[in-house]
Amino acid sequence: MKSMRVNDHPVLGSLEKQKKINIYFDGQPYVAYEGDTIASALLASGVRTLRKHEDKDTPRGIYCNIGHCFECRVQLNGKNTVRACLTPVENNMKIESNISLSPTSLKGGTL
């Protein structure tokens, strides 16, 4: 897959060699670099879908990318819900989405 990283930029210059780290999203390993947010690391690997709507089951990804819209919420290390766009990656971070969970049966979800 062609790299989605902007390693060389005509005005901003070349990226220094960042430290490579491993993260896991829904059990899958991904390569990330120190300084990435969860959202940017996943997007760099072509992952756009971070969540699905809890009732309507529709796929969601980042929208505002600065922490306002809460579309990018994911679960961190089995405990906290965080905004992927504001959370810096750390080595061996385990991130989980709600994609594998069934939607609520209240508003049109199916069991």
């Binding site: 709507h53 009732d55 309507k56 529709t58 929208y63 505002c64 306002h68 819209c69 809460f70 579309e71 919420r73 906290n80 819900t81």
Partner: protein
């Protein structure tokens, strides 16, 4: 997709059609639209859709956008754990 199926409140996935129906039926304000449809009540606290709801209500014959903020902001305006609320520090 018809215009009415356009999502207005992303968090609760409330459509334009639902908001139109509500305003037409109840001749109501933004605040009442929020209470009846849940638009503006999702995790983002109405940050994304509140302006849109205000303008829609005005265009659909409801009250004009007033000076005061119509959909109230209720703290906590960011998610916070019970631990932090209880004084736990990192």
């Amino acid at each position: 997709m018809s215009e009415n199926r356009t999502v207005i409140c992303r968090c609760e996935e409330i459509t334009l059609g639902e908001i139109k129906e509500t305003v037409e039926r109840f001749q109501c304000s933004s605040r009442e639209v929020k209470l009846r449809t849940r638009a503006g009540m999702g995790p983002c606290g109405g940050r994304t859709c509140r302006g849109m709801i205000d303008r829609l209500v005005e265009q659909l014959g409801g009250p004009a956008v007033s000076n005061e903020v119509s959909l109230s902001y209720r703290p906590p305006v960011r998610p916070v754990s019970f631990g932090v609320l209880g004084g736990e520090t990192k």
